[in-house]
Amino acid sequence: MNKDASTPVLRFDKVSVAFDDAVALQDVSFEVSHGGSRIILGAAGSGKTTLLKASLGLVRPQSGRVFLFGHDISRMREEELFGLRSQVGMLFQESALFDSLTVAENVAYPLLNQRAIQCPADQVLPKVKEALRFVELEQTLEKFPSELSGGMRRRAAIARAIVTEPPLLLYDSPTAGLDPITATTIIALIVKERDLASTTTLMVTHRYQDGHLLANYHYSPANGGLQPARGVNEPVPGRTKFLVLEEGRLVFEGSQSELEASTDPYVAKFVKRTG
């Protein structure tokens, strides 16, 4: 469904979203091309989650247009969207695993229910196991989400998001509410997925160090961990950008060095927090 390599994977064109009288997004425009990463920072209630949901058509803009793989999804009917959504994986803030299903059933859900994905029945279990192995959770196949810790739930949800090998992945606060060690493990998984499957990544976070890891580190298959990208494989300039949202408006878009140099007091707040 990718029109061609030069078409941005995702493009927002002056998108505004409001719920009742509250403005969630106002005139937001940006684009991300294949293989690029966007780290979205902002205070609580600044519209970060709405931005991710609008990318999938879960929330419709009142004005402006959203292009997903070159298709204008702002006016598409829900049924038409299902095909496009099968190419996007999303990690929700609180994991949003179906709590009446086991971990294996949760991960198998997109394979069995995405109509655009024709997964042969005998391929479902191997793919589920592979996705769970990727997040190092093979031993939890038959467990229910309520039996897992917060970090494990987040990993199972990542497995569910990547099992269909989507070219675009959206992560909503993947480290929220996790201890620093687990948080780093989750970011390492996101970097690993980005580097091994060369996916386009949008990550909402309120932790600057998450963005720092995503922008400056690479997954190293040799030691199975993260390695600083400098000198090894310098990221293409512009591949990773930071966006900062303030009360629904996009107040900053640029590289990490531009972000660190910003004199805007609101933008600077997100940089300083790392210490």
Binding site: L58, F92, L97
Partner: protein
Amino acid sequence: MLDFLKGPVLATQDFVTLTGSAIRNLFRRPHYADDIYRQMDIIGWGSLPIVLLTGFFTGAVMALQMSRALAQYGQVAKTGQVVSIVLVRELGPVLTSLLVAGRNSSGIASELGSMKVTEQIDAMRALGTDPIQKLVTPRMAATAVVLPLLTIISDFVGMFGGFIIGYFLLHLTPGQYWSSTWRALEYSDVTQGLLKPFAFAFIVSLVGCHYGLRTTGGTQGVGHATTQAVVAASVSILILDFFLAKIFVSGVAGG
């Protein structure tokens, strides 16, 4: 003034849209047969004990009360007749539906409400499933099948409760009681006795789903949605019952 009306009007619009989509989905693929069976089990089999208990005691208490009034005219033998007409036409359908509303509208609202606040509904949409198709239509179909069945069981158990009173306290013979019960009923009684729970089934299931899917504001919101669902479903059942009774009574009077 207009702002005051905006909420209820939007809620009504949402409810009508939900009803339309849920019914339209009955004729569209994919069909989630497993979910329908599971809901039939939860709503039907799960409600059976309370339906049996309340049905039995409703019939028994009615026989007890009516026999006193009938005794004034020396017509205690007609107790079965009164019990069966009132049960089949009114109390069976309405009480069963109210009980199932109390048990399942709340259950549906809290389940869907929890899914809504934990973003499971959004996740479902993101993973290529229409939540109305997957969650609402199976609950509606299952309730529409099991509520009339539960009503039949409740009616029968109620008559049996009446019989226990008739036999042991009023000293009616089984023949007297059951033949007057049986003969009292006409086709129109049975028709309205089954049409009502069928209609109420849509209220029980769709009101629960409607409030569940509109839940906002965390666990407190779930509690709020649950309460609202039970209240709205119960009141709607009683109001709809009045209008259905009016239609049937004028129909019979006219015919």
